[in-house]
Symmetry: C2
Subunit: 441 residues, 2 copies
C-alpha cells in the first residue's frame, strides 16, 4: 500500500487525439459519433477502475485549412453534456467530466445541466471549465470577433462564482416532502443568489436540488499565467500539458504554491498531465506502432495542426526551413508557446514540427506495460503529477491494451486501485464534498 | 385495422401535472428528480408502445406565491436535454421530446444538442419549441424584463430557420471515412449557413453530422394566434390544450387549414391535446380517485395556479366572489384566456376556479378503460385530435393503470399499435424524413 496512488482519467474526445488514429488497421473510424462504440469503451474503462471519462469540446469546426480538416475524424462530435448523461445510464461508478465554455454559455444553463447530470449519475459529474480558444466559435454565437484572452478569463472567474452559487441555492435538507402536511420543501432553506456583476446578471435560485456531490468536480486545463491562476483558485483537477518531466515538475510546484497562497490545501488539486500511451509486448513493437501511426498523418493535416497551434496559416512558411517569428493572436497562448519552444529546442524544420504536432506533439509513453508503469511511477514519485489523463492511440485496441496490460501492472505495484473505494467522482479523486456557502453545517 | 389510429405521448414533466399528485397514497413523491424512478416509468411506457415521452420545462422557479410554491413537487426538475439522453440509453424505441426555449438559448447549442440526442437515440428525438411564458426566466439570463409576446414569436420563427439550417450542414453522404485514401469527409457536401438576421447571427456549419431523422420532430404548443401560425408553418406535432370537444375540433380545423394555406400537407401535423386520464374499475371508483386527488390540493397552491394562469396575484380577489376583469400582461395569453372563459362559462367563484386549476383544469378523462377508450375514439373519429398527450394523476399507479388497462382496450379496438412498426419517432408518428434543403435528393 502506497501513500500516493495514481489517478487515471481517459481523455476521450476525440476518442483518440492522434490524427491518424481512424486509419490504423482495425480502428473504429466512426467511434467519435457512435453511441454503441462509446458505450463499449466506457464500460471497458470502468472495468479497469478509471477515475473518469473526460470529454473535451469545440464550438465550431476546428479552424484548420479545409485540406487538412477533410482528413480529420474530429470534424463532428457529440455535445459532451448530451453524451455523458447517456453514458451515465450505462455505467455505475466511473466519473464523467464534460467540457463547457464560460465564453459561449449562460451560467444558469451550465449550472442546471451539471446539477442534473450529477443527480442522474448519482454524484459522478465533473465540469471542465474552458474559455474556448477557437476564435471561429464567436461567429456561431452572434459575435463578430472572439473575446480577448484577458476578458475571457475575467468572465470565467465570475461565471464560476455564479455557477457554484447557483448550486448552493438549496440546503441539502431543503426538501421535506411531507405527504401528511403537504409541505414539499422549506423556503427558509433556499437562497436567492441575486448576482449582478460586470459580466453576468443572474437572479436565481437554480430550479434543481443541490448536486449529490455538493458541487460537481471543477476541472481546468489552463497553462497561461491567467489559466494557472484561475486553476489555483478554483480547480480540483487540472489537465496539465504533458511535456518534459522537469517542465511538469515546475508546473506542478507552481500551481500547488499558487493554491496554497490562495489559502487552499494543495492536496485538493489533483494535477493530471495528458499522455499518449502506446503499449507493446516489447519496446520495439510499441515504437513500431507509433511510427506506423505517425505515417498515417497526411502532410495536409500536419500543416493544419501546426496552424491551429500557432494561430496563423502555416502553409505560408518554407516547409524545410526553420520556424519564423510568430506574432501574438487572441487565440490560446499555451499551444503556440509550446510549439515554438519545441521547434527551437529540437531545431525542427517547419515540416518536422508539423509532422510531430499532426500526430500528437505532447507527452508520449511508448513501451511495455513495465516500462510505462516505470515512467508513470517516476512522474508520480518525483512530483511531476498526481496521475495522468491517458490518451489512446486508436480504439478499441489501444484502449483495450492499456486496460488489460498497463492497469494490472500498476495494480501489482500498489499504484492504482483494484476496486472503487467510493461511489462519487469526489470519492475517486479523494476530494471533500464542499459545504454550502449559504447554509454551512 | 382502422384508417386512423391514435398517437399517444406521455406528458411527463412534472411526472404528474396535478399539484396533489405527490401526496396521493402510494405515490412516489420524489419521482420528478429520481433517475431510477424515471427509468422505470419510461420502460413501462415503452412496453405499452407509447409514441413518445414528452418533457416540458421551466427556466426559473414557477412564478407563484411562496406559500403555494412550497407545496409544489415541481419546484425542481432536471434539465430535459440532460435527462432524455440518459433515458435514451435505457430504452430502444420510444420517442424522446425535450422542451427548449428559443428566447433563452443560443441556436447553435440547441441545434447541436438535439442533433446529438437524435444520433445517440438512433432517431428518436423531438424538439418542443417554446418561447417561455414565465417572465422570471428573464432575470436568470441577464435581462431586466421579459421579451414581449410578439417579439418572442418573431425570434422563434427565425430561430427555427437557423436550427433546421444547421441540421442540414452536412449531406447525408458527406462522411466517406475512407481509411485507404485518408479522406474522412467531403467538404463539397458541407453547407455553411452564414445566417445574418434581425435576431440571430450564426455562421455554421454545425459540428455534428446530420441527424438520423434528418431533423428531430418539431413539436409546439402554441394556442394564441401567433402560436397557431408558427405551429401551422413549422410544427409536426402539436400539444393542444384539451378542453371541450367543440373547441378542440375548431382548433384542429383551424391549424390544419392554416398549414394547408401555407402549402403543407395537413396530415403532416399531428394534433395531440393534453388529457389527464384517471382509470377505475367502475366509473364511480375513477371519480372517487379524482375527488380524493383534488382534495389534496391546498388552497395556497390553488390560488398560486390561478395567479400563474392569469399573470396577476389572485390573492387580492374576493375568494367567494366572481372573477373580476383581468388586464393583459406580457406572459402567455392562452392560459389566461382559458381560465377566464372557464370562470365565465361555468359561473365559478374565484375559489372554485382556483381549486379546479390548482388540481388540473384542462381535459380530464375519468372512467373505466372502456369509457375512456370510447371518449378517445370519439375525439379521434370526430376530428378533435390525432391522439393525446396523456397526463397521469400520480405515479407509478396512475401510469401503470393506463398502460395495463386502457392501452389493451385501445389495441383490441384497432385504435393503437400492438408493436412499433419502425424505429424512429418519425416512424411512430407517420412523418416523412425531411430532405436536406441544401443537398436535395
Amino acid at each position: 500500500m502506497r501513500d500516493r496512488k495514481l489517478h487515471l482519467g481517459a481523455f476521450m474526445r476525440p476518442v483518440s487525439i492522434h490524427t491518424g488514429a481512424w486509419r490504423y488497421p482495425g480502428a473504429w473510424a466512426d467511434a467519435n459519433f457512435s453511441f454503441p462504440r462509446l458505450k463499449y469503451l466506457i464500460q471497458r474503462l470502468e472495468a479497469a477502475k478509471f477515475d473518469a471519462f473526460f470529454m473535451a469540446d469545440h464550438l465550431a469546426l476546428l479552424n484548420m485549412p479545409i485540406e487538412a480538416l477533410r482528413r480529420s475524424h474530429t470534424v463532428t462530435s457529440f455535445d459532451p453534456l448530451t453524451l455523458l448523461p447517456a453514458l451515465a445510464a450505462v455505467t455505475e461508478r466511473i466519473g464523467l467530466i464534460a467540457t463547457a465554455s464560460t465564453t459561449y454559455n449562460d451560467a444558469y444553463h451550465v449550472a442546471r445541466k451539471f446539477a442534473s447530470l450529477d443527480h442522474i449519475s448519482n454524484g459522478r459529474a465533473g465540469w471542465n471549465l474552458v474559455t474556448t480558444a477557437n476564435p471561429d466559435a464567436a461567429l456561431n454565437f452572434g459575435h463578430d470577433a472572439h473575446m480577448a484572452h484577458g476578458e475571457r478569463y475575467k468572465r470565467a472567474r465570475e461565471f464560476y462564482d455564479v455557477v457554484t452559487g447557483l448550486w448552493d441555492s438549496f440546503a441539502d435538507d431543503a426538501f421535506i416532502r411531507d405527504q401528511e402536511s403537504g409541505i414539499f420543501w422549506d423556503p427558509a432553506r433556499m437562497h436567492v443568489l441575486d448576482h449582478k456583476g460586470p459580466e453576468l446578471s443572474v437572479r436565481g435560485p437554480l430550479n434543481v436540488a443541490r448536486p449529490v456531490q455538493g458541487w460537481p468536480v471543477i476541472v481546468q486545463a489552463g497553462a497561461s499565467d491567467a489559466g494557472r491562476q484561475i486553476a489555483a483558485e478554483t480547480a480540483e483537477m487540472v489537465f496539465a500539458a504533458g511535456g518534459r518531466l522537469e517542465d511538469a515538475q515546475a508546473y506542478y510546484a507552481d500551481v500547488k504554491a499558487r493554491a496554497a497562497a490562495h489559502g487552499r490545501d494543495p492536496d485538493r488539486i489533483k494535477i493530471l498531465p495528458g499522455a499518449l500511451v502506446i503499449v507493446g509486448d516489447t519496446v520495439e513493437e510499441a515504437r513500431a506502432k507509433h511510427r506506423h501511426l505517425d505515417s498515417l498523418v497526411h502532410l495536409d493535416s500536419a500543416i493544419g495542426s501546426l496552424s491551429v497551434a500557432l494561430g496563423v496559416d502555416a502553409r505560408q512558411f518554407d516547409l524545410d526551413g526553420p520556424l519564423p517569428e510568430i506574432p501574438e493572436t487572441e487565440g490560446g497562448k499555451s499551444g503556440r508557446e509550446r510549439a515554438i519552444a519545441m521547434a527551437r529546442r529540437e531545431k525542427l524544420t517547419v515540416r518536422q514540427l508539423a509532422q510531430r504536432l499532426g500526430g500528437y506533439g505532447g507527452l508520449a509513453l511508448v513501451g511495455t506495460a513495465a516500462t510505462i508503469a516505470d515512467e508513470m511511477q517516476h512522474w508520480l514519485e518525483s512530483r511531476g503529477c498526481d496521475g495522468f489523463n491517458v490518451m489512446f492511440p486508436f480504439v478499441p485496441a489501444g484502449l483495450e491494451e492499456f486496460c488489460d496490460k498497463v492497469v494490472p501492472e500498476l495494480q501489482r505495484r500498489g499504484l492504482f486501485r483494484t476496486e472503487y473505494e467510493g461511489t462519487t467522482l469526489r470519492d475517486h479523486l479523494g476530494l471533500e464534498r464542499p459545504a454550502n456557502r449559504f447554509f454551512p453545517g
